[in-house]
Symmetry: C2
Subunit: 368 residues, 2 copies
């Protein structure tokens, strides 16, 4: 890791007027003083992390923040999607109030998507809003969930149902943290990287196909471009549609089916990225059935998802279970499910589909 | 009430760019079709009310909404500040998700400040934001809490600590609902009406002094002007500082001491307006001790608060209890309490004060 610590960092701006912020991408960023300069001033910083990531990085982040804040507190939450609940969120509020943290306090989300979503939502709600910084330590959170200001907790009846659009003041993607990521989590992150190809940039899909061995081997140069290009695409989409009134929904390619898998199995059984990978294949098959793309496109996507170490066959929950969960998806309108489909390779469209056709695709996708 | 149903309605605009909205003030508004025209279209409306207000008005609001929404649902929550919690809030989410409400669903807050704050926060969080309409049925919520977009629930360690700035799309103040208001609640509302005098408009304070008998007798003409002028002042302040980075804090005159009374006694023992009335006297005394106003001003305010049927003596919780609760006030910075004081009659200022002086004022204000 020492060798990469001197590589130069990329900087991508999310342009949202007075809510604009930079994404910093590079190896060794946590230990570089410049990473933490120019953040909002406050007497207290609170690092929110989990029991897996905390022991690896919390002390280093704390040391880096101490020159800037008189108090640097840490709260360690349990790990995993099943803990992305109001009860866990409340542990952040208990610390903030128990330590009399004022409304200038800056929160730092150190971990994956679950920590980022919960810390962001806590920041959105504490005293009606305090600043927060994303320090994503998983590939999935670096390429997707830490960027764009979607924060939330799950409700027993649906994923991310309770939340806010609330932008961080900075995102710090230290690529070194990906070296300690379990293989299963790396694969889950690749699902969200792959996603950007079919919806927006087929040249990026070509690149991913070619570089997949390097990405799986955690080559820093390959990871750096994967994170940078993913964030660029996300920045472009979010900059045009912060609150998902239209275009932004295309970032949910694979997520409608994926959420049904996660909710149907119980949150945390499959990783979010695993469900998204499998959900992309379902959405691609539905696109093919509707005549948008050909079978070769579906096969190409399935091959890549499989090479990335992701499950290709959905859990056999029954089509009616999938449909029921998808009807409470946030994109649904008036009980009609809205799918993100591929209109043609590199271009997405949001539209409905007949239940019977969707059920066929689900049954086809869940056969072992 | 029939006689007043034909009186003309006032309309005040809250100017916040794309988040602007009107406040409608008049007698008989609930039953007037024009009140409900032009709201966001959706298949479902959800009326959120409580067990006291619901039986009085929910059916009438439901009938008024039925021409506009295919489904009009109602959820009835328990009444009172002690229920302004996450647990109660979750009952709104349970209905929304249980009934598969989509993200176009419009929420209607029918009740006092507790219902308004919780419904607004639920609207802010459900699927990261759905539209909501305030239908305040208490004087306090008509003149203060329904306007300006502050939403929240309480945390055991502090009032309104978990919430959001989230603006309604319309506020409907039907003055007829004040005829069914218990006398104690009417007095509590008058505290927030009186507040606008010392901080912004001494001519309005003169008017309140002259019209207090009419206001206490629920004369519709007097109530109409009290609500209208209060909303005008609030609109002016909120329009300049939506997220309370400065000026808006003056609306919290009496609230720092007041919150300490509420939290110290346990939420719901004193009504919010009662605590604010008593808190204004404490803040006025502190202003006098700091040389901003004279004793005659303090006496004048105390006389009016007393005539409005509000308690003049604070609960004897001990100065240290007050100070402890005030240190977690949202205006506090770095552990230093910030008070809204009267710089001169009609003009407020936010500043700190020595603990010893504050303690003296508290002890003086809590002697029977």
């Amino acid at each position: 890791m020492t060798a990469t610590a001197t590589s130069s960092a990329a900087r991508i701006e999310i342009e949202l007027g007075e809510r604009s912020y930079p994404i910093l991408i590079g190896a060794g960023l946590i230990d570089q003083a410049s990473t933490w300069e120019g953040l909002p001033r406050a007497s207290t910083a609170l690092i929110v992390t989990n029991e897996v990531v905390g022991p690896l990085y919390a002390e280093r982040v704390k040391r880096a923040l101490q020159p800037h804040y008189a108090r640097v507190l840490t709260v360690v939450l349990p790990d995993g999607e099943s803990h992305k609940t109001w009860e866990t969120l409340n542990r952040i509020f208990d610390v903030l109030l128990g330590e009399a943290c004022d409304r200038k306090t800056v929160l730092f989300a150190l971990g994956g998507g679950v920590i980022g979503d919960m810390t962001g939502f806590a920041a959105a709600c504490y005293m009606r809003g305090v600043p927060f910084v994303q320090v994503p330590t998983t590939l999935l959170s670096q390429v997707d969930s830490s960027v764009g200001g979607k924060t939330a907790v799950n409700h027993p009846m649906g994923k991310n149902m309770i939340g806010a659009f609330y932008q961080p003041v900075r995102v710090v993607c230290d690529l070194d943290t990906l070296q300690t990521l379990p293989a299963r989590e790396l694969s889950a992150g690749l699902a969200e990287v792959i996603k950007y190809g079919p919806i927006h940039d087929m040249a990026f899909l070509d690149w991913i196909e070619a570089q997949l061995p390097a990405l799986m081997a955690r080559d820093v140069t390959a990871l750096s471009w994967a994170v940078q290009r993913s964030c660029e695409i996300k920045a472009e989409v979010v900059g045009q549609d912060e609150r998902e009134s239209g275009l932004r929904a295309i970032l949910n390619f694979g997520h409608t089916f994926g959420h049904a898998i996660e909710a149907g199995l119980g949150f945390g059984v499959w990783l979010h990225g695993e469900a998204v990978g499998c959900g992309m294949l379902m959405a691609a098959r539905l696109s093919q059935r509707l005549g948008h793309v050909d079978q070769a496109f579906v096969d190409r996507l399935a091959t890549l998802v499989g090479r990335a170490g992701l499950p290709l066959v959905g859990p056999a929950l029954g089509a009616s279970s999938y449909l029921e969960h998808m009807r409470v998806d946030k994109k649904a309108q008036n009980g009609d499910i809205r799918f993100v489909l591929i209109q043609q390779p590199g271009q997405a469209v949001v539209q409905g589909a007949p239940d019977a056709l969707v059920a066929e695709v689900i049954e086809q996708s869940c056969r072992a």
